[in-house]
C-alpha cells in the first residue's frame, strides 16, 4: 500500500450528497479481474456522454463538458470535496480503486458510508470527515478562488487552507499508523497467528458445529 504523509493538492468540488459506489464506478467495469485501470471509468456515466463498456478506448469517447472533473481547471486534482454519505451503496472496492487510479489521495466530506470509508484506508486513500458547515465553507472558498489548494498533513491531522486557516480532523490511531507507514493489514494480523489458533481451540470446544 502507498504511504500517505503530506499532500498539497488541487481541490475539485463534487457538489452532491449520497454519491453511491454505482456512480463512482458503474457495474459493467466490475467484470475485470484486475485491481488497476479503473481510473478512466471513474464516474463514467457522468463523465462521458455515451455508454461506457469495458475494453472501449476512452480517449475516443465523447466527454461531458459540464461534469466538473472534465473541466480543465481541475486537471490533476488530488482532493475530492463532496457532501454527505459519500460512497453509499455497494461494497465494491473498485470504487476506491477507481478514485485512487484517477489520482485522488484525499476525500473531504461531512460523512461517508461505512464500508467505503473502510475500503479507502486499505488503498492509500485518506477520507476526512469535517463538519457540514466547514465543508460548506470550503465549497464557497473553492468557488471563489480558481486553483484552490489544500494542504493535508496526516501526522498533524490538519488541513490548511490558502488563507492560513487550519482545520483539525480525526482519524483512528490504528488507521493513521497503517497509512503513514504504508502497512499491509494482513502482515500485521499474521503477527498474531498463535492467538488466532488459541481462539479456534477454545471455540471448537464451545461450539464444535462451527468447525465441521
Amino acid at each position: 500500500m502507498k504511504k500517505f504523509t503530506l499532500l498539497d493538492g488541487l481541490v475539485v468540488p463534487l457538489d452532491r450528497a449520497n454519491v453511491d459506489t454505482d456512480a463512482i464506478i458503474p457495474k459493467q467495469f466490475l467484470k475485470s479481474i484486475k485491481r488497476s485501470g479503473f481510473g478512466p471509468n471513474a464516474f463514467d456515466e457522468w463523465r462521458y456522454l455515451d455508454h461506457g463498456e469495458p475494453g472501449m478506448d476512452n480517449s475516443k469517447r465523447k466527454i461531458n463538458p459540464d461534469f466538473v472533473l472534465n473541466q480543465p481547471r481541475y486537471k490533476g486534482a488530488q482532493i475530492l470535496l463532496t457532501r454527505e454519505n459519500f460512497g453509499c451503496g455497494s461494497s465494491r472496492e473498485h470504487a476506491p480503486w477507481a478514485l485512487e487510479d484517477f489520482g485522488f489521495r484525499v476525500i473531504i466530506a461531512p460523512s461517508y458510508a461505512d464500508i467505503f470509508f473502510n475500503n479507502c484506508f486499505k488503498n492509500g486513500l485518506l477520507p476526512i470527515r469535517l463538519d457540514a458547515a466547514i465543508v460548506d465553507a470550503l465549497f464557497k472558498a473553492e468557488a471563489s478562488a480558481p486553483g484552490f489548494h489544500l494542504q493535508v498533513d496526516l501526522e498533524q491531522q490538519t488541513i490548511t487552507a490558502p488563507d492560513g486557516t487550519v482545520y483539525p480532523f480525526e482519524v483512528e490511531a490504528f488507521r493513521k499508523h497503517c497509512l503513514l507507514n504504508g502497512l499491509d493489514d494482513i502482515g500485521l494480523t499474521m503477527q498474531h497467528v498463535d492467538e488466532i489458533r488459541a481462539y479456534e481451540q477454545r471455540r471448537k470446544a464451545e461450539a464444535p458445529w462451527l468447525f465441521v
Partner: protein, 466 residues
C-alpha cells in the same frame, strides 16, 4: 454481563484480541465468495505466497454475472466469462466448495447460504458484498466487506474492526393485509434515512418482526445496508431453528441439540441498552413505493410524488429536484398514476419461495398490461426455482405473460444482459434505485413482490392492500 444486546453477544464471542485503541481482531466463521469481488483477493493471496486459512469456512458461487437464459450455451460476454471461470479455477485449485453455474444449488449468494444451512445463528458471516447483512436474520453477525478484507479473511480467518454502536428498530403490532417485510423495511429507511444507520449495527425487534417468516426476516436484514448499517440482525427463536433443521450444512444429532440450545441464548437480554431506539407501529405501515434515486425516497402507495417546494433544506431540495428530473416525474403525481414499462421480481431481497408465492397469488389467472414490455421472474436459486415449479408457480407466471428465468442477480444490478434501456421505468423487488443501477438511464421503483406483480397486471402502481 446479563444485560447484553444480541450484538454484544455476537461480538464478544468472536474477539481474538483487542488493540489499545479498541480495534479488534474478529474471528470469521463463514466466508461466502462470489465472482465479482474475489479475483483480486485470490490474486493478492497468490502474489504474497499465502494460502487460505480454513477453506472449509468458504462457500463460493457465481451469481452477479451469470445469464438467466440459455445457460447451456455458456456465457456469451467474454469478459464475464473470464470472471466466472476465474472463480471456478481459484476454487478448484484451493479446494473451496463451489456451486457452479450448472449446479441445481447455484443461486444468489445470500439466498444459497441460508438455504444450505451454511448460515447459522451465532456465526460471523462475511462476503465481499454489501447485502451480506441478509444473514443477520439468523441471529448472526453478518456484514459486507471490500476485496482487501476478503483477502484478509482468506489469509487469516479474521478481520480488523471496531465495534460500532447498537440501534434497535422496534416494530410492534401486526402488519396489515398486503403489507410485507419489504414494506416494513422501506418504511424504516424512509423514517431514518439511508445514512440513519451509519456507524450502527441494527437489531430489528418487536412483535411484527417476530411474526415474520425467515424469508421475511431476510428481506428486512438485507436492506439494513440501505439504512446505512453494515449489519442488521434478528434474535433467534423457534422460527429460526425450525428453518435450519435438516439443511445440508446444518449440524445433526447430538451436535444439533447442543447448537440449538446455544442458539436460544442469542437475543438481547431484558434491560440491554441500545445507543438509539427507533419505534414504528406495524399497523400504520402501508405498501411502499420509492419515487426517487435513493431508497429513502419512498412513500406509501396511496401517497404522491413529493414537491421540492415543500423542502426547506437547500441541499435536500436540490436532490429531490435532481431525482425527479432523472425519474421523469412531476411533483404531486399520485403514485398509482405512474405507468411502468418493465417489472423485475427477483434479487437477494425478494427472490425466495415465499416472495414468488406472493407474486404468483396476485398474477394468478390475470395477464400483464399491454404497456408492460417485459415482466420477469428470476428465482433466487436453482432450488427455489425447482420448488416453485413443483408448486406450479412458473405456470401461473408464464400464463400471465411473465418470463420465467434461471437464478442469479440479473436485473438487480444489470451486469448481465438483463437491463433497462434509457428512460424505461421498472417496478422492481430489488434493493437499490440508484441512477443507472438497472441500466443506464433506467428508472427504478422499489416495491414488494405483491406490489410488483400487481403493477405488472395493471400497468401502473396499485395499492395491494385495498
Amino acid at each position: 454481563m446479563n444485560n447484553q444486546t444480541l450484538y454484544d453477544k455476537l461480538w464478544n464471542s468472536h474477539v481474538v484480541r483487542t488493540e489499545a485503541d479498541g480495534t479488534a481482531l474478529l474471528y470469521i466463521d463463514r466466508h461466502l465468495v462470489h465472482e465479482v469481488t474475489s479475483p483480486q483477493a485470490f490474486e493478492g493471496l497468490r502474489l504474497a505466497g499465502r494460502k487460505p486459512w480454513r477453506t472449509s469456512s468458504m462457500l463460493a458461487v457465481a451469481d452477479h454475472n451469470v445469464p438467466t437464459t440459455g445457460r447451456a450455451q455458456g456465457i456469451a460476454d467474454p469478459i464475464s466469462k473470464i470472471q466466472v471461470e476465474t472463480l471456478d479455477e481459484n476454487c478448484a485449485e484451493l479446494g473451496i466448495t463451489e456451486f457452479k453455474m450448472s449446479d441445481l444449488r447455484q443461486g444468489i449468494v445470500h439466498v444459497i447460504g441460508p438455504e444450505q444451512g451454511a448460515t447459522l445463528p451465532g456465526m460471523t458471516v462475511v462476503c465481499g458484498d454489501s447485502h451480506t447483512s441478509t444473514h443477520g436474520a439468523f441471529a448472526a453477525l453478518a456484514f459486507g466487506i471490500g476485496t482487501s478484507e476478503v483477502e484478509h479473511v482468506m489469509a487469516t480467518q479474521c478481520l480488523l474492526m471496531k465495534k460500532t454502536k447498537a440501534m434497535q428498530v422496534l416494530v410492534e403490532g401486526k402488519l396489515g393485509r398486503g403489507v410485507t417485510a419489504k414494506d416494513l423495511v422501506l418504511a424504516v429507511i424512509g423514517k431514518i434515512g439511508t445514512a440513519g444507520g451509519t456507524g450502527y449495527a441494527i437489531e430489528f425487534a418487536g412483535s411484527a418482526v417476530r411474526g415474520l417468516s425467515m424469508e421475511g426476516r431476510m428481506t428486512v436484514c438485507n436492506m439494513a445496508i440501505e439504512a446505512g448499517a453494515r449489519a442488521g440482525m434478528i434474535a433467534a427463536d423457534d422460527t429460526t431453528i425450525n428453518y435450519i433443521k435438516g439443511r445440508p450444512f446444518a449440524p445433526q444429532g447430538e451436535l444439533w441439540e447442543k447448537a440449538a440450545a446455544y442458539w436460544r441464548t442469542l437475543h438481547s437480554d431484558a434491560g440491554a441498552q441500545f445507543d438509539r431506539v427507533v419505534k414504528l407501529d406495524a399497523a400504520e405501515i402501508k405498501p411502499q413505493v420509492t419515487w426517487g434515486t435513493s431508497p429513502e425516497m419512498v412513500v406509501a402507495v396511496d401517497g404522491r410524488v413529493p414537491d421540492p417546494k415543500n423542502e426547506n433544506d437547500a441541499v435536500k431540495r436540490g436532490s429531490i429536484e435532481h431525482s425527479l428530473a432523472y425519474m421523469g416525474l412531476q411533483a404531486n403525481t399520485p403514485m398509482t398514476e405512474i405507468k411502468i414499462d418493465k417489472v423485475f421480481i427477483g434479487s437477494c431481497t425478494n427472490s425466495r419461495i415465499e416472495d414468488l408465492r406472493e407474486a404468483a397469488e396476485v398474477a394468478r389467472g390475470k395477464h400483464i398490461a399491454a404497456n408492460v414490455k417485459l415482466a420477469m421472474v428470476v428465482p433466487g436459486s436453482g432450488l427455489v426455482k425447482q420448488q416453485a415449479e413443483q408448486e406450479g408457480l412458473d405456470k401461473i407466471f408464464v400464463a400471465a405473460g411473465f418470463e420465467w428465468r434461471e437464478p442469479g442477480c440479473s436485473m438487480c444490478l444489470a451486469m448481465n444482459d438483463d437491463r433497462l434501456s434509457p428512460g424505461e421505468r421498472c417496478a422492481s423487488t430489488s434493493n437499490r434505485n440508484f441512477e443507472g443501477r438497472q441500466g443506464q438511464g433506467g428508472r427504478t421503483h422499489l416495491v414488494s413482490p405483491a406490489m410488483a406483480a400487481a403493477a405488472a397486471i395493471a400497468g401502473h402502481f396499485v395499492d395491494v392492500s385495498k
